[in-house]
Symmetry: C2
Subunit: 225 residues, 2 copies
């Protein structure tokens, strides 16, 4: 009963689970769905996840979706190396950092990303300015954590790294759009604005199997426009 | 080294952790903070959680905040009875239901609650109508789960119940405001609109120690106005 991952290229939620599978060196069947073909909304996919979202992870008869739930499943089923720490204290801090990212940064980050990709930064100027202010503040907190440590929590890769990394990568890609304009200088060049985050990105990118997780359509170059 | 919980009356996030402590029958020191006095923003509290939010859980030198992280800490440190299941599959499904609540229901539920408490339902009519539509849909999904089972996941209380319950209780309390007006009939009487959720609430309220978790200021009667 092989693990099967249904995912979409560029979905930060999918990327988390891909990174987890690679980090744990698990064999899995990769099922890349084409968003443009609405393959994630096919009857087969809706039977597994009625919300029609990815990632969806299947192992035999068992199906789980929602990226954090997929990470917890993999960690409980295949504990080594751990994604949620070795002690209650580590587990708690890892989950705390994940919750903080999700509660205070993620929705604002996604607002910026979507405004850049859908080219609505001008018409949503006020909202984007506010989101940028918040995301920059949260990025400084992350920068501070990474200034004293290779990984977000403790001295090993954890679920916190895998949850936050794809979001930051997506933001950086959005900044490559011409649409990003002045916003770009708030985040880029990353080596200058957030040097510890920049080094951490290179560290994640050097993990074994990382290349297999990189969004395939991103290899075709910068986003259009 | 006793467990200490810093919490606020009526905070649904605090309530989750109180329910967990009681469910696990753990001794803890209850530190009720007065929101009206800004006690959650005191220098002592900001040293533990720079975001100035509750709940904050402390055990000896270790501090954790963000309710889901507190639940995971308690479950890893005091595994019986489990909050995140006994198998990888149970853990995954519990986390999935939590993530679904947080991703698709919670922010909309809180919009309705805040519009009712701050008496802005009329001026935010469009937003509240949309939020109500979404919350009612998510409530139907929860109703369906509870129609076939006593608890949200599996046949035991889990973290999923403890995460969702306080949010629903807060929504029901908001519906007691005169301000709620026509909105009230979308949710109340709960025994008619969502009978399985109504029975589940009675089940949670019958858990040992529940009375100690009930928001003290709610005992003074319905919210004003």
């Amino acid at each position: 009963m092989a693990l099967e991952l249904y995912w979409g290229s560029g979905s930060p939620y999918s990327w988390r689970v891909q990174l987890a599978l690679e980090y744990k060196q698990l064999a899995y069947e990769s099922r890349l769905l084409q968003f443009s073909m609405q393959e994630h909304k096919s009857p087969q996919m809706l039977r597994m996840n009625p919300r029609g979202r990815v990632p969806v992870l299947r192992e035999g008869d068992f199906v789980v979706f929602e990226s954090l739930a997929c990470l917890l499943y993999l960690d409980r089923k295949y504990p080594e190396p751990p994604l949620f720490g070795r002690t209650p204290e580590e587990a708690a801090t890892i989950m705390r950092v994940i919750c903080e990212y999700q509660s205070y940064a993620e929705s604002h980050l996604m607002q910026i990303v979507s405004a850049a990709f859908f080219e609505t930064i001008d018409e949503r100027a006020e909202e984007v300015t506010r989101a940028t202010h918040i995301v920059a503040g949260e990025a400084r907190t992350i920068e501070a954590r990474l200034s004293g440590s290779d990984w977000l929590v403790g001295d090993q890769v954890s679920a916190a790294d895998l949850v936050v990394f794809p979001g930051i990568m997506l933001l950086l890609r959005a900044m490559e759009k011409r649409e990003a304009g002045d916003l770009r200088s708030r985040f880029l060049p990353l080596e200058t604005t957030y040097p510890a985050i920049s080094r951490w990105i290179r560290r994640v990118a050097a993990l074994p199997g990382y290349e297999r997780t990189y969004p395939p359509h991103w290899r075709d170059g910068a986003p259009r426009g």
